[in-house]
């Protein structure tokens, strides 16, 4: 062992390398594997065609989320293709002895919400799922990232994937966040500075007092969006906030196992003087509530600002013009006051209890704007129960909103929750790609505060005026 200062990322990565292939990837051991109905069926078909078994079924956890309805979940799923995928997940899980939280199960919900809230996600782990927002779990000091279906088959059959080690980037944000500036705004700000491909090839560590002072829910929001600047994942060193969150959760270690785990987790931080391939520093005071105006998450700005001119940006003018045309926006346009048609709060980015508390804090004592259609979708049944217990549902109901049932919903619009063509949606989700929320839909990514402000005023509104 050398005494060279090491990063959090190196410590976790190096502990999981089964074999280094010369001029090739590392054979990389996976501690926890989440699967859902959309990216797993072909992997199970692959196992069958090769006649191989699942190596460690106790390390894989299945939940149905991408393709599930968010109303009337007690009824049979109407879309036969969706129903078929859900049945395949249930059948495959049963066949190989994999834990399955299907539709209607009290533990069911979005994969990146239920993993942490049930204590499956722990510091120092390697975690993968056939979903790019697996980066969420990095909030716990885990190396977590999305994989393709071929890799899902690799993990099922060998508990390993073949992965070249990414380069290392550290993003530091220090200072005090302003009024109504949330973790979502911090991440949208970072992505707007780095661009949608600015961290491709890197694994990110987030550091600085802004993240140290953030709740686990907030850290999950930040790590979740790491992929939107191209990073495979992002992580935050575990601390007392992390340990307090985990302690007592169903699948978290208990008793002596807890003490042993805690001692290990406390070693998981970047040593002073450790090297990064790239490092950025941002000042929290420069961040205001954010909103996106274009068709990738890097096209974001402070809500009070004007849409940038193509000449002020790097990148192709033609691609920029195409993007603004799709959105129905013009250069130099002000976003404040822009009429909104839909509001979506939910997703693996902002579908946790704090997000609904934030939404309710603006909605309380106000009414939903008449022309707004609002979809309020908890990330899991556990979040749904918290919303009810804390009286948030009463606030929502009083203001004219309805609560839907958990799932990915309008974030990717695989189910019926689709924004119609040409309509504008303020969405707390993670992607504003063309057609992401339904063919022709126009997405404005923002925080739960900005979503709530739009929901009650019917237009893009600075939430600082309502708090």
């Amino acid at each position: 062992m050398s005494n060279k200062p090491s990063t959090l990322f190196d410590k976790v990565w190096d502990a999981h390398v089964v074999r280094k292939i010369e001029d090739g990837p590392d054979v990389f051991f996976i501690d926890r594997h989440f699967i859902h109905e959309v990216t797993s069926p072909v992997a199970f078909l692959g196992l069958e065609s090769r006649g191989i078994d699942v190596m460690f079924p106790e390390c894989t956890f299945a939940t149905a989320d991408h393709n599930t309805p968010t109303i009337n979940q007690h009824l049979p799923v109407a879309d036969p293709l969706s129903a078929n995928q859900l049945q395949a997940l249930e059948r495959n899980s049963a066949k190989y002895g994999i834990s399955h939280w299907g539709l209607g199960d009290p533990k069911n919900g979005i994969v990146h919400v239920v993993g942490p809230e049930n204590g499956i996600t722990l510091p120092g782990m390697t975690i993968v799922c056939g979903d790019s927002h697996t980066s969420t779990h990095g909030a716990f000091g885990a190396i977590a990232f999305g994989i393709g279906t071929s890799e899902v088959e690799m993990v099922l059959s060998s508990q390993c994937i073949m992965q070249p080690k990414p380069k290392k980037m550290r993003i530091n944000v220090n200072g005090n966040l302003g009024k109504a500036v949330t973790p979502k705004d911090v991440t949208l700000y970072i992505i707007s500075q780095l661009t949608t491909a600015g961290a491709t090839g890197y694994f990110v560590e987030y550091a600085g007092d802004v993240f140290e002072n953030m709740s686990m829910e907030g850290r999950m929001t930040v790590c979740n969006m790491s992929i939107e600047m191209g990073a495979r994942g992002g992580m935050i060193a575990p601390d007392e906030t992390t340990f307090n969150y985990i302690n007592g959760r169903e699948k978290a270690p208990k008793g002596e196992a807890w003490d042993k785990a805690l001692a290990y987790w406390k070693t998981l931080k970047t040593d002073a003087g450790a090297d990064f391939d790239k490092e950025y520093h941002f000042d929290a005071a420069d961040i205001e509530p954010m909103i996106t105006y274009g068709t990738n998450p890097g096209m974001g700005m402070g809500i009070s600002k004007h849409i940038p001119k193509a000449t002020d940006l790097e990148g192709g003018v033609a691609t920029y013009a195409k993007s603004l045309k799709y959105m129905g926006f013009e250069e130099d346009q002000l976003m404040i006051g822009k009429k909104v048609d839909y509001v979506f709060i939910g997703s693996c980015t902002n579908g946790r209890i704090e997000d609904f508390r934030a939404f309710a804090s603006i909605v309380k004592g106000r009414k939903k704007a008449d022309h707004i259609t609002a979809w309020i979708v908890p990330g899991s049944h556990i979040v749904e129960a918290q919303i009810k217990e804390e009286g948030i549902l009463d606030i929502l109901t009083e203001a004219g909103f309805q609560l839907r049932q958990p799932g990915c919903s309008a974030c990717l619009a695989m189910n019926d929750d689709k924004i119609p063509a040409g309509k504008y949606a303020v969405s707390t989700s993670n992607r504003n790609f063309e057609g992401r929320q339904g063919p022709g839909s126009r997405t404005l990514l923002a925080s739960p505060y900005v979503a709530a402000a739009a929901a009650v005023t019917g237009m893009v509104t600075d939430p600082r005026e309502l708090l």
Binding site: D31, V42, I147, S150, M162, G435
Partner: protein, 198 residues
């Protein structure tokens, strides 16, 4: 899943000079509902390719009969977004065997190689040369030699080399995949797992 071996490819190419082509454009989420890897090519670039009434959009390159071939040439940051391997499946199923761009998103690049599509990353300048050559003559050919790790514009003879790690190159040339490799080292993995405490 087994795929065709990749050694040498000479083909015309389809140009898509748009940056940040994300996986939701390559295949929208509503077409991810299959439980088998079949027919994804029909929905490749669905919303750029077809109107809402399913009639083809005449101005989209895949609907223009002068462009065809096994090589897709995309703008910078091709394949950003979701980890859906369906995006690579759709490109393969449509008939492409190679995607050329000046920059690829990580997960897409890995998925493509894993199913036998060769992602070739070239310089911005070379990418411009390719787009210009196709603009001048849509029937112009491009040759990709995986052994030599070169891409050549037949029209001008301009050649550039590209990077790929030796392990993946060997796999593509021989039609091997990672699962074969991992199955062969299962005893090592078991030994690792027994010592690994988490």
């Amino acid at each position: 899943m087994a795929y065709d071996k990749f050694t040498l490819l000479t083909s015309t190419a389809v140009p898509l000079p748009i940056e940040n082509v994300d996986t939701d454009q390559i295949i929208p989420a509503r077409f991810l509902k299959a439980t088998e890897r079949k027919g994804f090519g029909d929905n490749l670039f669905r919303d750029w390719r077809y109107n809402n009434d399913d009639t083809p959009k005449k101005d989209f390159v895949l609907n223009n009969p002068i462009y065809s071939g096994k090589i897709l040439v995309g703008g910078k940051n091709f394949g950003s977004g979701s980890s859906r391997e369906h995006a690579a499946w759709a490109i393969y199923d449509y008939g492409f065997r190679c995607v050329v761009s000046s920059f690829f998103a990580d997960i897409f690049k890995g998925n493509a190689i894993n199913i036998g599509i060769l992602p070739v990353q070239v310089s911005e300048a070379f990418l411009d040369q390719i787009f210009k050559a196709i603009e001048v003559d849509p029937a112009t050919s491009i040759t990709i030699d995986l052994n030599a790790q070169t891409i050549k514009l037949e029209a001008t003879g301009a050649t550039e080399s590209f990077a790929i790690n030796g392990y993946k190159k060997h796999n593509l040339i021989n039609g091997f995949d990672d699962i074969d490799y991992l199955q062969a080292m299962k005893s090592d993995i078991k030994a690792f797992a027994s010592l690994h405490s988490i």
